[in-house]
Amino acid sequence: EEAEKRANMPAVSKGDGMRGLAVFISDIRNCKSKEAEIKRINKELANIRSKFKGDKALDGYSKKKYVCKLLFIFLLGHDIDFGHMEAVNLLSSNKYTEKQIGYLFISVLVNSNSELIRLINNAIKNDLSSRNPTFMCLALHCIANVGSREMAEAFAGEIPRILVAGDTMDSVKQSAALCLLRLYKTSPDLVLMGEWTSRVVHLLNDQHMGVVTAAISLITCLSQKNPDEFKTCVSLAVSRLSRIVSSASTDLQDYTYYFVPAPWLSCKLLRLLQCYPPPEDGAVKGRLVECLETILNKAQEPPKSKKVQHSNAKNAILFEAISLIIHYDSEPNLLVRACNQLGQFLQHRETNLRYLALESMCTLASSEFSHEAVKTHIETVINALKTERDVSVRQRAADLLYAMCDRSNAKQIVAEMLSYLETADYSIREEMVLKVAILAEKYAVDYSWYVDTILNLIRIAGDYVSEEVWYRVIQIVINRDDVQGYAAKTVFEALQAPACHENMVKVGGYILGEFGNLIAGDPRSSPLVQFNLLHSKFHLCSVPTRALLLSAYIKFINLFPETKSTIQEVLRSDSQIRNSDVELQQRAVEYLKLSSIASTDVLATVLEEMPPFPERESSILAKLKKKKGPGAVSVNELEEGKREGGELNGGGERGGDSSSTPSPSADLLGLRAGPPVTAAAPSAGSLLVDVFSEAVKQPSPTAFLRLFVCKNNGVLFENQLLQIGIKSEYRQNLGRMYLFYGNKTSVQFVTFTTTVTCPGELQSHILHIHTWNSLEPLIEGGAQVQQVINIECLTDFSDAPLLNIKFRYGGALQNLTLKLPVTINKFFQPTEMASHDFFQRWKQLSLPQQEAQKIFKANHAMDTEVLKAKLLGLGMALLENVDPNPENFVCAGVIQTKAQQVGSLLRLEPNAQAQMYRLTVRSSKDTVSKRLCELLAEQF
């Protein structure tokens, strides 16, 4: 409003007014439409162009005015493709504001024309060596604003010299420090501090507060990348901080902001300290703890001003101090005080403080020292979730509830989150659903609670329940027979609702198809009642769900022979058997046929209850095969004439089926493989095909990796035809792998070829050369051939190379893709170290991204000897007598890659009572920590 009160053009213009520019700007403002504006701009552009091209040489003022107009037009959002040369000319003007406008134009409209860059760099060079501080600052600002590689190449060597030179003016030092920071961010390889390091660190002692404020940003950034070289900054930072914290509010004159001494510098000092572990020197540490205590004390003092600026500046320091306390995670007293302080903020009238307190408490919740203290605020946080008016604050509250959740409060928190979901904002629903699902699974003591929770999720927020969530509930129900009856009863009840979510129909269909028999004794849920209930939903559902229901129906025929005729009737109806959807039609046809020609025995075998999930051994076909011998099971036997040839291998080429395109039934297949389905796994078209793809033992490619993480030799793959054995050895960053292909049949394999590929990025991470010892593309019956693969690890990697094998057996092409078990841990060199060294290194690797942690359930018996053997197999040194808790395991090792060595430390904490593990990996490289953690979490 204030703005509109003024005249259209300001009366006073500071410095030198450019009348023409002001007129142009007000013309633009007076334009009534976008079209008028564009017209006016085009007129101006034409005018400027003609002036620039004209014969008459323009004076500096006019050039400046036109360049400024171009800049204005550009900032309005229009493209500008000329004027750069005129702007560059301004750089060498000896009039300050002409130079200034020239630099501004160059900074905003960065151009990649190399001739221009050369001219610009020349002008900058002149100004830098002019010894005129105002010109030097302009040039430095320009470098900092553009920050291009070319500028780094030209000036990265010169600027450190300017920064530390004794006769450099303070204002120039400030610009030089931040200019260097910008160049370091864009081209770290070109900024070499080397000999300047110590003098740069000592800028923390500079008597000019502005110099310290600017320099500390540079020092923080450099410390993050080279902590060792800059570690002397810790004690300097502590003493500087201590001086500020203990100073009276007037001591620092203009660096006092609303009665708070040097808030920006204080925050930056506290931030710098977060690049390092707690100071080892007792005196320094004592001084720092004192500072932190003073900051916490000041929070309790009455405010020196009622202005929000005062409290913001003061609390900015407080929050930064709390971040440091959390970062150290070693002072229980400070952690609890921090938690109490945040607790007060949770009820503060300022929304900003409530938001930040919720956010900060989230990190506090993960510290063992303060987890319990955080939990005491549960009611306040729940209340925030219910009553905060700002969704971003509610989001923080939900995050905090998630972070503070443990076994003791899981039921309360999950219940609150569920009830919040009913009214939650759409933007956060999906995340909330995932969080509830994770908590329910993580802290489920009785699984009926888990099932109830997930079904409630589907009821309340069905649209936001992703596949992973409903897959998971099915996996868990299948794996735990104590909950199957309850699950069947509960889904049956849930399906009674006249309108229920399609995801409920999916879960219901799947569970009743498997375990409907467990509730069939009750006449209210007799087989026919169950079937009618499911089928009443059928017509409202999408194709994938209908496909799933059809599979549930065929399962019903097996479970309840009395439903056979009803279900056959349904399958036979035109709407099924002639359905326009190929998938549905195929299922209807195949299931109908299966139910009419297969003996009860075969039916019972084919449609047996799903086996538990982690084991991917296929029960169905393995059994059938045992009975009938190899080669006897073909699709023909169960379904006449539909397919040709005896196909044994699910990965074999099959004309016109859906193995290459994701089909609606991929859901079901996904379930069997344990979602997500890996790309390399052949996805088969329908349940039947799926069943046959299990004809050979075809574990998912990832399952192999899991088997070979902690060992180097073994059988990689085996089916009726082929066995692949593997032996491998690794030294430094090199590995050699021997693959043995054995023909188990009496017939020769022809056109036997293998290819090893490194998909995607992996190409640049692993280099492999492989050689054939047998060049014959032929393996005689009963014979074995050997292949050697040399592997070189260039840099760390996550994915595994793929091995594709193709051959013909009796005319049928067999095609198989496996992941080669090359994992990053193979390149470990064990490192022995004493307890002291271990913990010291552990603390050095304290950046949050350097650590990866997983808490997971034990999949195998928690046998100490087995655990030790696995950890040794991993390739690290297993360190005895290091961890104070003898139950825990710690390991150390260095991964050797061609590019670098990555030191890694590991800690595994078993909790026998809860049958859980906590695994923590710290490495000097974040991707390595993450990958090791993923690999290992599947081992125990």
Binding site: E2, I101, T134, Q174, R182, S217, S392
Partner: protein
């Protein structure tokens, strides 16, 4: 800090400062998205929000919104006061600044910002020192203007 935007209640961009290299297209997209997001928020709401992988800190002064994007480890409250200090600097320089001052003297607004923040970090937090630098430059111009007249 990754960037700072000043825009009006009508969504008109008045000043943009980018401290990370981005294409013009990307800058326009970000601006459009953020202006829309911030203008949609109600007055009493919190000044911080998560946006992509950044934190947005914003505050409204009269008809203008000041909006900064900071990184995960940056401090929200001190960023609010960066905004305030910049407003104070503009106010002191222009004498109760208003949106029109920034429109008509946009180049000055940029110069003041460059003295205060460089490369996205605070260069000089003393109000006196920043204004001294700017006024010196203005003086330099006037002296030269006199000399050449």
């Amino acid at each position: 800090m990754q960037f700072m935007l000043l825009f009006s209640r009508q969504g008109k961009l008045r000043l943009q400062k980018w401290y990370v290299p981005l294409s013009d297209k990307e800058k326009k997209k970000i601006t459009r998205e953020l202006v829309q997001t911030v203008l949609a928020r109600k007055p009493k709401m919190c000044s911080f929000l998560e946006w992509r992988d950044l934190k947005i800190v914003y505050k409204r002064y009269a008809s203008l919104y000041f909006c900064c994007a900071i990184e995960d480890q940056d401090n929200e409250l001190i960023t609010l006061e960066i905004i305030h200090r910049y407003v104070e600097l503009l106010d002191k320089y222009f004498g109760s600044v208003c949106e029109l001052d920034i429109i008509f003297n946009f180049e000055k607004a940029y110069f003041i910002l460059d003295e205060f923040l460089l490369g996205g970090e605070a260069q000089e937090t003393s109000k006196k020192n920043v204004l001294k630098a700017i006024e010196q430059a203005d003086l330099l111009q006037e002296v030269r203007a006199l000399a050449t007249a």
